[in-house]
Symmetry: C2
Subunit: 216 residues, 2 copies
Amino acid sequence: MTPTITAFVRSPDRGKGLARDMRVRWALEEVGQSYDVRLLSFKALKEPGHLALHPFGQIPTYEEGDLVLFESGSIVLHIAERHAGLLPSDTKARARAITWMFAALNTVEPPIFDRDLAKILERDEPWYEQRLHVLEDSIRKRLGGLSTRLGDADWLDGAFSAGDLLMVSVLLRLKGSNILDEYPNLSAYVARGEARPAFKRAFEAQFAVFTAASTG
Amino acid sequence: MTPTITAFVRSPDRGKGLARDMRVRWALEEVGQSYDVRLLSFKALKEPGHLALHPFGQIPTYEEGDLVLFESGSIVLHIAERHAGLLPSDTKARARAITWMFAALNTVEPPIFDRDLAKILERDEPWYEQRLHVLEDSIRKRLGGLSTRLGDADWLDGAFSAGDLLMVSVLLRLKGSNILDEYPNLSAYVARGEARPAFKRAFEAQFAVFTAASTG
């Protein structure tokens, strides 16, 4: 059964692959599962039809028959459990890969996301510079721990997993910032993720949506 | 095999059950699995021995033989997968319960955690009131969506699950604030979680640690 996901008709990141449908597209491409996409305007996010699928009125959602999921982490885990390629079969290695999924979303992403949000919403506030400094300190604490643990390995724990997929997705938000450049092994890790054919297919697909909305 | 978790020797919340070992203790109590606890000072969190277990130098960790996990969400999921009682056996209902786990940690917790952090770190800043207002708006958006979805049900999706365990744990941070009181069904939901015998046993266990550290 072909699942249907939702995405922004016009992503605020202008097709840079930072919207959270990208993670789900990437996971589906890694396992070779085709999918349909339903595009939503910002207005449609808050309409009853979408709120019935996603209580917080966000994207992405994932529909597979009468199963409806939201939260990109949960959707990626669902895909990884249904198909080979994103989680090791060894029970312990699988539990560790899932640990990296939660680490990406609950420990590494929050300060990175807050920094992006502050750059949009708080740029004119009197506290902006100080707040940015606090957030970047907090990001560096996370990246330092991550960089040390990764060392010179290709991926966080053996073969590429859903944990790497989410961690690279989260770190992508820092691309082009000085912060990521301070950790050369993490920059290389992100580049390694971006070089995967499945990443490229997913990136092109979401970029095509943005291009169509901009020229259409 | 009895797992070992780590927790603060002296929790900064003074035993209110807000440190993240509480979630793991609660999950272990729900499934009837006994556990050992290794207590750590703040200093010990950043020492090599602990960093080898937890790359970000936090609590809790979970050791079961040679398996080492961190991230409370991942540990709770691991426990829920190994024992009956925290995830439905139906595949679709299980995927939805896991969605609520991610929603608790990745959507609902971040602004709630930020508010607690701001109350500690930014209280004396000139922008404090304005910043608190922004954070509380953001929290209300999440709680509004959650309250509508919960409606008059006892739990988020059928029987109590690991999704409820994490959501109640996250909302507990708002206890005693006006914000939670604005959503009577969410207040009742939190109280329902706290009333579970497994919650009470977990709470008492972590409170006893704080009491011992304070009087010892």
